[in-house]
Amino acid sequence: MALRIPLRKVTIIAERVLRDDLITLIKERGASGWTLTMVEGEGSRGIRASEWEGRNIQIDTLVSSEVAETIMDEVGRRYFKDWSVIVYVADVEVLRKDKYIG
């Protein structure tokens, strides 16, 4: 059986202007990688600058449970008031690289 580590996948969907900030944030809080997708979306907020500016971004990062906790809390604290942002988390099992490279 393939060897896997249970991790948490934190997903952040946000306005495009926050791109660099969010990447810095998750890396500072302990994420070793991230994957970004350009998306569109609609949520509870009204008209947003991003409508003109273009699409939203979705950042997925695979992290440990504790790192997930810190990232979510930090994103909530920094961005929920003024920005169009949502964050959610899910369980995933990640294939261990060392087993194959080692």
Binding site: E15, V17, G46, I47, A49, E51, W52, E53, G54, R55
Partner: protein, 320 residues
Amino acid sequence: MNALTDNLISPVVLCFVLGIAARWIKSDLAVPEPLYQGLSIYLLLAIGLKGGSALAVTPGGDLILPGAVTLALGIITPVSAFFLMRRCGRLGVEDAAAVAAHYGSVSVVTFLAAVEAVKRTGVELEGFLPALVAVLEVPGIIVALLFANQAGTGKGSWKKALHEVVTGKSIVLLLGGLLIGWACGPQKLEDVQPFFATAFKGALCIFMIELGLAAGKRLRDAGRAGLRLLILGCIIPVLHGVLGVSAGLLAGLSPGGAAVLGAMAGSASYIAAPAAVRVALPGANPAYYLTLALGITFPFNLAFGIPLFQTLANHFSLWL
């Protein structure tokens, strides 16, 4: 009236109308984002090159007065826009500052439309006007953000906003184009003219379709912004435009050049300003500033502002 319809019946303006109409009938017409971005790179670089090559053959002394006057407009217009929005528009400090940043800066497409309109009347124009666009783009945004900062409501990052404005692609391409055009001079630019000059107005048509689509979206939101703001969206361009025309004539610009400077001063940025404002003033409601800049003031200037500034510039110039 004849001048008015004559101004409106041009491929560039009608393509804007086509965009609005397409949005209105809910067509699936859309200019893909990468193409829109590519066109804006092209237009900004082309404007810069043209202005730069004109600078190369303009004596430096001729630039001082127009440049100073443009800088002054960049400081005065955001202030007047801010107070009008506070008093008459009844907006909060943050929202008023956000709107002021847009009116303090300049809409490149309004500039282009004004240049076209003047050229169509056969009037000569100063070649260095694009350099004034670069001068007018940044200061107004900074002045406006200072208001919010002073009031302590600017929760966003100042440093980042400033970086956003100064290194934003519109200013980089405009300034870069000016420098390249200036360094190369008209002769070395000749090879790239078929692409950057001859094809320019056609490419602008495609860009206008997208602007029309975006403005059409905003127009539907215009109701929400309230009648008060709608009216301000038409009064401010006239006010700033008259200021710009007068300042231009006093600075020694030709009537055509003064009309264009009026259109620049009267215009509201919808490329550089929104990005900076979103970063610096995240609490400001984009519904206000985007609707005003793109939904109201831009079409207003295209239809009424530009011919008005032309007429005024012609009349005023007789008194000088």
